[in-house]
Amino acid sequence: MERKIRVLTAKLGFDMHNRGMSVVNRALRDGGTEVVYIGNQFPEGIAETALQEDVDVIGISSLNSASSLELMERVMGIIKKKHLEDKLVIFGGIVLPDDVPKLKEMGVNEYFPPGSNVDSIVSYIKENVPQ
């Protein structure tokens, strides 16, 4: 057995940031994981990719606090519909302070706010990836 952790990374909707995503992708690569990076995607595309690529982790980034929560609700809804609840879902970027607990309530496993150490993302994944 030679298992490798597979991580899907995507930017949510029309969010146009780039640098943070590249830094996280690089860190994940150097951490020995296989990163399937799909750029900007809507919830349907994210969930279908997670299914076809059989990833262990779904990592979503968004700096658009106005639409993040609503789109994340749709992401989590489709994940449930497609029976992908075994995936670890992490979210990085900006949401309104009041919305942080709501992310967790809808099933997001961890939230990484701006300024998070990239290594902490990699080690969180390694420690919490479903066996």
């Binding site: 030679e2 298992r3 597979r6 150097d30 296989e34 399937v36 990076y37 076809q52 059989d54």
Partner: protein
Amino acid sequence: MDIAKEVLNGNKRAVSRMITLIENKDPVAKEIINELYPHTGSGKIVGITGPPGVGKSTLVDQMIKEWRKRDKKIAVVAIDPTSPFHGGAILGDRIRMQDNFLDENVFIRSMGTRGAYGGLSKSTGEAVNVFDAAGYDIILIETVGAGQVEVDIAKLAHTTTVVVVPGLGDAIQTMKAGMFEIPDIIVVNKADLTGADDAVMELELMLAWAPKIEWKMSVLKTIALENDGIEELLDEVERHWKYLEETGMLYKREETRYEEELVDLVTENIKESVLKEIKSNGKLDMIVKKIVSRKITPYTAADEILAGLKPNK
């Protein structure tokens, strides 16, 4: 879930899971492959190879769309390099294929090379068989960005397409061994760039010297981003299949593929069992020490190890 049965039913989740089991060398995978194998052999395998950045993924994206119009069910295996240093990989081919993400009859799977150096991963052939068993008509394989020697695709695919762009070099490059020995079809992509006609001319000149076989190879021009030349490319691929079928070459290609795979499997198994034996009793360490202190040569050591192996009953 009975994975073999569900793969045969075309269940996407089962297909996806099965490829993971294969990639991770899970012992369960072998049994499932044995169940699936009799149901393979009808899918057409198309390889897309060429240097990094020539537009392979974009071309594949357009080929999927065009084949969907022709009502084919398409699977894609897209391979990107695994880091030899950390074992990680950025699998970034899929990002160019976004238009086809939600099509029920398209399945895209990204793979890291995981230590293989021929442009594919070790699991590519088995993943192709899974898609074949699951009822995909066409399995497109996009290799890693390939240079001159990553030519394993030619042994696996029924039709190998080499993609280049204008300005990659002069006629000398086309004479070199490797990449230009494998194509059934050559594509000059980004044909709107200066030098496209020169590139086509030089490649056609090379073909004039190619061994005379019944298959007349062509050099096609495409502009993948603008969906230009894709229909002609698909027509050419389908014409090649017809040629393979009519001449019996299809059978020959399958023979080549499975001879290669069989030899690989046997070699791999022998290697593993030999290493297991000589590592387990400290023999390897001992012999290495003798070599380093010049008491014995590496060749004699290898002969000694092989002579001492117990033959498997």
